[in-house]
């Protein structure tokens, strides 16, 4: 196994007939993912890249044995789509859609947890295990099979760092983009737990951002439970406080949430923190 995505994942793509759904279904198939079904209400009976399309996830699961879903539907319908996937009994849901209302996310994240479903996202690039499969939108070309587990709150910054690692000859076991949303399903701690348990992962890279306290909580968990070496980068050292930089939050509460507080916490947990993204490969190798 390599952290969630492995050979037996059978993927259903919700919103497969949309532009992103169609494009990324192909990209996932090219990467090696077993895309067994698509869902778009009213488009049952069609095919996309030879993949059968159904009207409901329940039907897709019944007819194809799909056990994971990737959600590409527009934000107003994401809540319904994620709940539909959970209700249909899939084990893993990756919600790529951005701009999902935070109260929708709070709700479906809680339901997923109650039902024991692994939910990544919303607003996330998903995850990839080079050589096996990926669920989501990470670019195919940047990966190389290896033993580094990567977990990141960022999208493109992850690609930047993974690409730098690959160019430096450092392959990845699994790369999980948990997304930068305010209320994400999988968090750093969940991903770290999986990496710690995964025999294929020998080293871990954590990519954080200012805002929230996820990095501080990750640091605490690393100190307690992670024995594999961890390298981190935290974006936003030079971002002025109080300004909201895109999805990276300005809610810096009681001194927590700044780059300084995150870096301090990580370093105290024995994590080597790279000053710049380009410094990550060197630290991983060291």
């Amino acid at each position: 196994m390599t952290v969630i995505v492995d050979e037996i994942t059978k993927l259903v793509v919700q919103g497969i007939t949309g532009y992103q759904g169609t494009y990324h279904s192909k990209a996932m198939m090219d990467f090696g993912t077993d895309v067994v079904a698509g869902v778009t209400p009213g488009k049952g009976g069609h095919e996309v890249h030879g993949v059968p399309v159904f009207d409901t996830v329940e039907e897709a699961v019944e007819r194809t044995g799909a056990n994971a879903s990737c959600v590409f539907v527009p934000a107003p319908f994401t809540k319904g789509a994620v709940l539909e996937a959970i209700d249909a009994g899939v084990a893993t849901v990756v919600a790529v859609t951005e701009h999902v209302p935070v109260h929708d996310a709070i709700y479906f994240v809680a339901v997923a947890k109650a039902k024991g479903v692994v939910l990544i996202g919303p607003n996330c690039p998903g995850l990839a295990s080079p050589g096996l499969a990926k669920i989501g939108i990470l670019p195919n070309k940047i990966f190389r099979r290896g033993d580094v587990g990567v977990v990141s709150r960022s999208g493109t910054l992850t690609y930047e760092i993974v690409n730098a690692m690959t160019e430096a000859g450092l392959g990845q076991s699994t790369c999980v983009g948990i997304g930068g949303d305010r209320v994400p399903g999988m968090g750093f701690v969940d991903a770290l737990k999986l990496f710690q348990e995964d025999d294929g992962t020998k080293r871990i890279v954590l990519v954080g951002e200012i805002g929230g306290t996820a990095e501080e909580e990750a640091a605490e968990f690393i100190a307690e439970s992670i024995t594999k070496p961890v390298v981190a980068y935290v974006a936003g050292r030079t971002a002025p406080p109080g300004k909201r930089m895109g999805h990276a939050g300005a809610i810096i509460a009681r001194g927590r949430g700044t780059a300084a507080s995150k870096i301090k916490a990580l370093e105290a947990a024995g994590v080597r923190v790279a000053p710049l993204p380009t410094d990550v490969p060197g630290l991983v190798r060291a």
Binding site: P101, I106, A110, I137, S154, A235, R237, A248
Partner: protein, 367 residues
């Protein structure tokens, strides 16, 4: 998006939360009556207006007009006061704090309450603040309100009012898709009424599609911020002279961090987000040009946003308006070869790595 106090209070009134009687004006002449003694309060989307002189009492129409004259147009921490709220003055017996917000860490809605009302909640010692999470599967239930009333030291009829108010505020947060609803101070009047002294509400902008009424509200934005908002672009003006365009908040911040190493200072943070549309890229470039940086640094790692899309947008912008400012472009990822070919003779300075691009931009900015 943040609501002005008077809008937030209108909303609270709709949910049955007691607020003082009042009205909003944009010129002193619009005040032709007052409901007894009033406070005249600057409507700005920033804290600290009291200390800045943005709140004044008045006991007559005359005095209210005078106060409004003094406050309207006032600059409060960078925000110009365009409207004032003329509001019934309440006789304060006690001031408490009540806030409901979305909490990332617990992934739930959270209620904060404190007997120490009227001051910034962050400056209240943690052990004087009740923090109660609403389990998303349970939602608001009466016992939450009872805990809150007790924590702020209310009993009897005031406790009952507080419980009801707490429920209504949570309902407002959920139904209106608010990220924050804060009443500080929440006033217990000398008559024993519990009433919102101030009101802050922030609506989740991702939920505006189901709240048409907020889409029409004006926000307190600069003209450039206004344009950026229309384009769905994250745009933040900073102190330096380098305009940074990148895709993704993390990558854009990492670009700022990289510039910093070479003593470059960003003047604009522009996160394109994910886009497939050259037109959006073009508009972003034109917006950046308007912000008048000394140099523009484009840093793209193509995924959803393909490199050739960015190149096409860039070329369109340069075709529409001759850009004097040097443009350093580091474009990597999906379709990067096409992008490189497209930009070959366009007068853009290419860079292959993030560090190289940052160094070039910093040098250019310090020239």
């Amino acid at each position: 998006m943040k609501l002005f106090e008077y809008k937030a209070k209108e909303l609270m009134r709709r949910y049955g939360i007691p607020v003082p009687e009042g009205f909003v004006v944009s010129s002193p002449g619009q005040i032709d009556h007052i409901p007894g003694p009033v406070m005249v309060k600057a409507q700005v989307l920033i804290g600290g207006r009291g200390k800045a002189g943005g709140i004044k009492p008045a006991d007559s129409v005359e005095e209210a007009r005078k106060a409004a004259s003094a406050i309207l147009g006032m600059d409060i921490r960078g925000y110009t006061t365009k409207e004032v709220l003329v509001e019934e003055r309440v006789a304060v017996d006690k001031e408490v704090y009540l806030g409901v917000t979305v909490d990332r860490s617990s992934k739930s809605v959270l209620i904060m309450a404190s007997a120490a009302g009227g001051m910034d909640i962050e400056s209240v010692p943690e052990d004087e603040v009740l923090v109660a999470h609403l389990d998303p599967l349970i939602g608001y239930q009466p016992y939450i309100g009872r805990r809150v009333a007790k924590a702020v030291g209310l009993a009897g009829p005031q406790a009952a009012q507080m419980e009801s108010l707490c429920q209504r505020l949570c309902e407002l947060v959920t139904k209106e898709d608010a990220e924050l609803a804060e009443i500080n101070p929440l006033v217990v009047t000398e008559d024993g009424e519990v009433i919102a002294g101030d009101a802050k509400v922030t609506i989740d902008s991702d939920a505006l599609f189901r709240h048409k009424e907020y889409q029409e509200l004006k926000e307190d934005l600069t003209p450039l911020e206004e344009k950026a908002k229309k384009l769905d672009i994250a745009f933040v003006q900073l102190g330096g002279n380098i305009g940074v365009i990148a895709n993704g908040a993390g990558l854009t911040m990492a670009t700022l961090d990289s510039l910093n190493v070479f003593d470059g200072k960003a003047g604009v943070f522009l996160d394109l987000g994910g886009t497939d549309d050259p037109e959006k890229v073009k508009q972003a470039m034109l917006l950046m040009e308007e912000a008048d940086p000394k140099v523009i640094l484009v840093n793209i790692f193509g995924g959803i946003t393909k490199c050739d899309t960015v190149a096409a947008g860039l070329l369109e912008a340069m075709g529409e308006k001759s850009m004097e400012v040097p443009i350093i472009a580091r474009i990597k990822g999906v379709n990067e070869e096409q992008a490189r070919d497209m930009l070959k003779n366009a007068g853009v300075i290419p860079a292959s790595g993030l560090n190289e691009a940052a160094e070039l931009a910093a040098k250019e900015s310090l020239r």
